[in-house]
Symmetry: C2
Subunit: 169 residues, 2 copies
Amino acid sequence: MAVDSGLTSLEVLGIAIQSEIEAAKLYERMEKRVRNIDLKEKLEFLKGEEEKHRSIFEDIHRKRYPDVELKLPEKSMVPMMDVALTKEMTLKELFEVAMKAEKISEEFYTDLARKSKDASGTSMLNYLSGIERGHYNLLKNEYDMVVTFPAYAETEEFLMGERLTHVGP
Amino acid sequence: MAVDSGLTSLEVLGIAIQSEIEAAKLYERMEKRVRNIDLKEKLEFLKGEEEKHRSIFEDIHRKRYPDVELKLPEKSMVPMMDVALTKEMTLKELFEVAMKAEKISEEFYTDLARKSKDASGTSMLNYLSGIERGHYNLLKNEYDMVVTFPAYAETEEFLMGERLTHVGP
């Protein structure tokens, strides 16, 4: 998502913090929905990364606006995020919202990086953008498994080696 | 790496298992070399994933060749892997070997997927390939930070929010 040029820095921080909070919450919901231990671990890992990002932006807020209370935007920048966080959705749908959210975050940080006034800021924002892109790819890869093998998410140990017998000639 | 069509299934399994063992070992070495707690955690996560892959292929071996002892190839398929695992290298060099290893694994699994005789085998091998591609991207993103910010790997808590003050206008 391109960053609206009419936004203040404070608003940009609010958006970033909110989107990291939402992503972490969504991964927590998804983690509760699956039984596959490896997949749970991945969702836990993703959640941890978003929590770190949140704290990066909270640090910036604290440092730059020590006297201004943080205000989060009323609306998510991710379509269906509010539904995903409050209503019933299939696991497949939750993945789709999470993938969309990662895409939007990636573009948001890329755009901030482009607009950054110093080289190290650009590097760090590109780094964050790269992490979100990585999350998207990880989710997409897991999504394909969820869609292809209905048992994948529902089995504590999806023993791939037991099912994958033909390797090589 | 294209899978040599002269290889037996048993040899293919040996190569896969060896490359997963090496990758896990390399991440362990890298993890010991950095002080950044977040980066340590990522390397730990990567190591865990390679250990899971190793056990997938060991399961296949056990199931398909219960009476044949597993033989690992004498030579790594990754250039410089033997050096990286036994000699001194800079962290940057270790990243470069790890990135190369992930690229090779990705191509190896993609090629096996293409040659797989059943659709679910193809899906699972493409999934493994996708994970290795994700590892490459994760490493590349971290590598850029290691190269750009010499303090990044060497600081227990690299406080990005303290350094990244200009976000937005």
